[in-house]
Subunit: 336 residues, 2 copies
């Protein structure tokens, strides 16, 4: 076997795909090489971000969407689905919080469902960059639908949701004040707000309130448009019950409709989400390259010395940064 | 008046301090200049991060700690306290979610309590860098105790808690599974875990469970030590009720004891938290400088072109990043 890992991943070898994702996630040289090789083969998948406050039922909804896409009688036939569950895992608990592995068990024997957990911590180039890279590998390996699940309560996690082509924000009818407020922050990145647990009392009312709130927003929009200010995005509101399955086929259909619109726009050279992903990756790699240079044999001592002097307040961080940048851009003088 | 904003802030002018913080937060040239000027005067305050899952009662506890530190009969006299409330604010709701402004009202007429909200979004150099810069300004303006409150459910927010000298993680006795799990992730950055709402049933049991869990950890620690592996931090567990005030004096005392140990260690040149803050600031400023150069008149066109080619998958992001870095480090050829 002289096939590389990336060739094997592209030809459908799931173990090769899993190993490759580990390389990419750890930003090894092998991972970099693989991403370079796979990158031209990616760019077709619909990348869907799914986020929401704790308790909103995101994981169950992800499982329900996967089941829907895998139905033998799905329009156009069942399609392969990949899931990235971004997980605020901890060395203490051993992680595996999100993703609701138990509910995903039903897909364990289906090789066209590929589920990957990714820790939310310890990504040198940033969580968004790591997620985009993993999605590109899955995309190049033949998954036309990629679901990225994050617990949408932090800045990085919101950024991850925002790099998707389409972002679903999941909310349950009844939630505490602080959680409600977090959700309000999420509305800005939402393309579709799913009021989940639609079988529970209060779901219709929650959806109506949300629509009313967004209508008030729409009035502000008209005022903003009249004043020439840019308009915020106004999400659709849909009801679903991940437990009973109600609303899930309609949700998958709505995703597909959005994807068609996206592909049409992309064909005309306008794909804002793809540009955001490019930015996330580029800035992640640039930060990594910069860090590597600051810590190479030539510069490590100066970097450490600068950090110590900033820490003791002998030096301000701006002067420190500019000193280091000058050292980096001056002709290299290797210490011998 | 020829005094600069930073001179006025240092001499106790709170409006000047507020304006200065806006400049620093927005990373304006004026803010950079002020931070350079103030930086040598900072480095003495005890910076305390306070975080916890939604509903844990962080904000009430912050208010209770402020009251305790401001008591006329506090040991060593009442001291000035500054609070940074990192707020997942939204243009839609208008923000102001955390910080529990209402509970803080009692301090509104006290000029030695300075409360500042900071949005969790839109910080070019990162949230941690922005928080560290704001704390340095407060420190140089004479606040010996700075409390940074974040809703501890996201990666950036945890990082903010982790750049503090001392990190409190607040938890309520009764919480849902997902929230519990988030809390577990937080334990790694905790110096002190506060089981809040100690007046409620289950608080003692929650504290006992937490201590038992950490004892199991301690056994693992001994095994790790025997094998020469590094040891994780094991936090103290304390009970408090922000509502009744029970346990709050003991908590402030524990903070002060930790601060004395920190100062002693710092005097011997070992201050890990100060180094972390230096790193956060340095990498934030470097990222900002890099972004500015990529978007200056010389490089903007190439940067935009590279991003478009990455977005359409004509170019992989590693090749794109390396091309841009070569362009940056080659002798500048101004387009005329």
């Amino acid at each position: 076997m002289t096939q590389t890992l990336s060739e094997r991943a592209r030809s459908g070898d799931r173990r090769a795909l899993a190993r490759l994702l580990t390389q990419v996630e750890n930003r090894t040289a092998k991972g970099e090489e693989a991403l370079r090789a796979l990158y031209p083969h990616a760019g077709r998948a619909h990348i869907v971000g799914i986020t929401g406050a704790p308790g909103s039922g995101k994981s169950t909804l992800v499982a329900a969407l996967v089941s829907e896409a895998r139905k033998p009688d799905a329009p156009g036939g069942p399609r392969p689905v990949a899931v990235i569950a971004v997980d605020p895992s901890s060395p203490i608990t051993g992680g595996a919080i999100l993703g609701d592995r138990v509910r995903m068990q039903i897909h364990a024997s289906d090789r066209d469902v590929f589920i990957r957990s990714m820790a939310s911590r310890g990504h040198g180039g940033g969580l968004a960059a790591a997620t985009v890279a993993a999605a590109a590998v899955m995309d190049a390996s033949g998954f036309p639908l990629i679901l990225i699940e994050t617990v949408g309560t932090g800045q990085s996690e919101v950024e991850v949701a925002a790099i998707a082509d389409t972002t679903l924000v999941v909310q349950a009818p009844e939630m505490g004040d602080e959680v409600q407020a977090i959700k309000a922050g999420l509305l800005e990145v939402a393309d579709i707000v799913v009021v989940n647990k639609s079988d529970r009392p209060g779901a219709d009312r929650a959806a109506a309130q949300l629509r009313a709130m967004l209508t008030v927003g729409a009035q502000h929009d008209r005022a903003a448009a009249a004043a020439g200010r840019p308009l915020p995005k106004r999400p659709d509101v849909m009801l679903a019950s991940a437990m009973t399955g109600a609303g899930v086929p309609g949700l998958l259909k709505a995703l597909d409709t959005r994807n068609e619109a996206r592909l049409a726009a992309a064909a005309h050279g306008s794909d804002a989400a793809a540009l955001k992903r490019a930015e996330a990756q580029l800035s992640g790699i640039l930060a990594e390259r910069l860090r590597a240079r600051l810590n190479d044999d030539t510069h490590r001592a100066a970097t450490q010395q600068t950090l110590r002097r900033i820490a003791t307040h002998e030096l301000d961080p701006y002067t420190g940064a500019d000193d280091l940048l000058s050292a980096l851009s001056s002709p290299e003088q290797r210490k011998s």
